[in-house]
Symmetry: D2
């Protein structure tokens, strides 16, 4: 319980910080896009920190990546082609590749140095996924690539840094981008995006507005949230269905019976998942009242000309 | 986004801290039992901090107190007599008094100075509850009082500080105490206790073992958890039923339909609650897999001779 | 050695902070000019903090105020009229009043709320000095007052907040102001000003340039420095002589024999001082080489149109 | 002025910390004796931190090492054989080797890993000194070595970690050790030791008692102190003369004329020193009154059976 030592400070709000002890710094530097720290920590194991914000940690990345990837993959009847925007750690890719139906993954992460450093220093995050023959890895802007490409995808997964002013990702959270992305989905396609903090203190910062924006573009958009220890808050996601709920589901997506989800996992995946299952599904899609009301009351839409920024 | 200023540091684990900005200190001191700080903060409004640990804050105490009080009260068919152990802020009392059936509340908080200072400096927490004619407030050890009293209660609510070595509450989390408390419940009685952190990093610290201990004493004990922003983690509770599930419930307690819970609230309470409702119920009783497995795998039982301590 | 608790953070440089434990906050607020905190602390006793910067503390203010006040007062043969700019805590006034020759002190502190709050919460700082019949206390801009007044002074003591952009004092460190102040000194007059940090890390921030500016306005300007614990660095001052060294001194001011200074104190003051004496004089006027060279190499002059700002 | 980032926290007192920003960690680990961090920092360049305490930094180590080494070396008429206890960074050795008379340096640092890591990561500290043919480097306990060796030395320099309970150095600050060390000095020999913090807040922690202990063993022991930025306080040293003041000095050691010291440096060294010169000498040997009185009032003596420990 010593104070002396090396600590990482991170703002959660302008008046609240999360501070964790650093064991070692494996990499620190600045790429053309952002500052990058890969650190080893007592509490979280190895962490990736971009522009001062913790992106994922060995201790709990399975919660984030399970919740980001598997609902979207499972609610598509047979996801053969997957697009990943961001996801430089390789863990989103790792989870996508668990699905045997997947034939091709197109992953775009703007920053090759981040991907390379994660490849070297976060082996548990990628677990060899970068060597998959199914992977096409590109270092280009995801929006431009999607606009120009002829391909269509079954599932689009947006594992992006938070939208910040001047940051590399804020134009990947706008209505214009979502319209474009939807156009690149095959029939029955599913899009999912991380959507920022959903805890009581700052759920209106970007979660409600991203949820609102997606629900204007897609016939169905389902917000959900899960507690991520390293973010010290509930974290939001939005899953959008290009054609509305798949008839294979037993009723409205948020109200699936836990037993149905458990059966789906058993049928579709070679082994059970570390976090996501029937009760996890039920938990994450049962939103607290403040989120339900907050989304209903949200009047903003994110557009290219009025983007949303996190502080 | 200034660094300069006044901050409160609190250990979540030995290697992680939550730090929030202090606006003012309304009271600071040491009672016969513990150190007490009542502070005004930017993020959380007024906070009560005992022995360096944030107990509750104006910004989010409604989440904690809703989840502690209302399931226990609602799952009893007609709670007339209520026992509160701890709860010095007065907010647990305030929530109990929302239930019109309540005729008498016996509240025991060991530390009169804490209760007095909360009365002065946390008016939103107690909202006048301390003046209720239904209240009998005593400053005695809850365990000794329960052992000696002739009364029985419909609902026992344990709103205690965490169990710490040498602290005032660790003997209120043991098998011996739970046996004693059960003996003071009327038929159909319900006991609920706060049960420490339930986030992925430290759910085994005391949550799983308290859950396990209560399930050995009561015919049914239901662990549940909810995200509390000021604790920066999921927080655990355990609700125990003296005679098993009330037949009025629509099946097993954790699996109540949201609509049933919403109807129960409508029938029993004069107005809806700020946090607790049908979906909140579903969310909090749908435990993540690590908690389900952690409770199953838990082999410890808390006893007077082998208590559980938080670090 | 607990981490948990209440701490004050203060930037010394953009990359270094001094952090001390807060016991209580006696006053916090914002006046028309600045933010004000008066805190009780474990290490320093009661502290005055303006705009996030510690101004003085009970534990060590005697070092700062001794070194600011007494050389200037003692090197004037008979200081009857004294002007204090700033000095809201009252401790500079308290030290000035130790000199029996003083007949009148004109003190200008812009911010009446700071003076009032210090009067209430820092009784050891002022030690009753505010009730002296010799005192004329005004809450006006020191520069404007000096420009307009008909009086002249034997000693001018500038106990100001550091010069910061947009702050209340940066125009009280300029050549124009020093010319004006010199014009208000009686023959043989002495001016002294606090002059910012003089430690190896940041002595060029304002110390060298203030020293250089004063030496261009006065025939003699003597920089000196002393270690102030609460500032965690050497602190700079500059003493300027309107007519050059008083013939009463035994040679150049910085090279006075310790025994001569001790004798001067004995003759002029009713009792010895807590910090300042012959060896303290020798220590503080014997500048480290980096300061001597830094002042020589300094090419900037502070003027109204090119002021100096601390970060 | 961002908060987010990596910071090193260090206790100065139990209630005060110095916090500086970390750029990178070059080495971190635990040897058989202590924890070791070599970090690159914004404020101080590369730093060596042992057991959480900053030992020296690129930015200001020249002040510490100048003041530790050169007075002792210069006040010996012709220092041919030098013993260094500790000094793993190599900077004390580097300064000793500036003196052309030196024929042999025997350096004992207990911890070979520290010396090796400093050799790799702190090249500016050692400046190649470890390759000097005059050096005999041993990794043994300095006290045991001195007890057993047949050699005698002209100068003994103790550049040790602070005395801490259970730490590797506390028996190198005791009367018994000083008696032993004195016995290994040649006639005219000089011993100097670092002696802990000498600032107003904590000068009695070990400085006054080390000064007192040495003055009981040697005919003359001269305490002195200098401000070291990375220690954020005045730092104490004690220089002891085996036979009293060298007749070559112009009177009592603390009262040497600056011009005499400057001349001594010119005669004895090939180039001027970065910090130490005549005025630096005057400054560091002119002790503030609280130190003079504190040493006089000190009644403790450090012995093997009642050692002094820093907190």
């Amino acid at each position: 319980m010593d104070i002396p030592g090396k600590w990482h400070f991170e703002l959660i709000t302008p008046d609240m910080m999360i501070v964790y002890r650093i064991k070692d710094i494996l990499h620190t530097g600045r790429t053309g896009y952002q500052s990058v720290d890969i650190m080893d920590t007592e509490t979280f194991g190895r962490c990736l920190v971009l522009d001062g914000k913790t992106q994922s940690t060995e201790a709990d990345e399975h919660i984030y990546h399970d919740c980001l990837v598997h609902p979207a993959m499972l609610f598509h009847p047979a996801p053969r082609s997957v697009f990943i925007g961001g996801g430089g750690e390789g863990a989103t890719l790792r989870e996508v590749l668990r699905h045997p139906e997947v034939e091709k993954v197109t992953m775009l992460d703007l920053d090759p140095e981040v991907v390379q450093m994660c490849g070297v220093h976060l082996p548990n995050h990628n677990a060899g996924a970068f060597t998959s023959p199914k992977l096409e890895l590109r270092h280009e802007d995801a929006r431009k690539f999607l606009a120009d490409c002829d391909e269509r995808f079954d599932v689009i997964i947006l594992d992006l840094v938070d939208p910040t002013e001047g940051g590399p990702a804020y134009l990947l959270y706008t209505e214009e981008f979502y319209v474009q992305a939807k156009a690149k989905l095959n029939p029955g396609g599913v899009l999912v995006t991380q959507a920022g903090p959903a805890g009581y203190l700052n759920y209106t910062e970007c979660f409600t507005v991203i949820a609102r924006t997606l629900s204007g573009v897609f016939p169905e958009a389902h917000p959900y949230c899960v507690f991520i220890p390293a973010f010290t808050t509930l974290w939001g996601f939005v899953l959008a269905l290009a054609d509305g709920t798949d008839s294979a589901l037993s009723g409205p997506l948020p109200e699936q019976e836990p037993s149905y989800i458990d059966e789906l996992v058993r049928q579709r995946l070679p082994q059970e998942l570390s976090y996501y299952d029937g009760l996890a599904h039920r938990r994450m899609f049962s939103l607290p009242k403040y989120l339900r009301q907050g989304i209903l009351a949200e009047e903003r839409i994110v557009t290219d000309s009025s983007p949303v920024y996190m502080v």
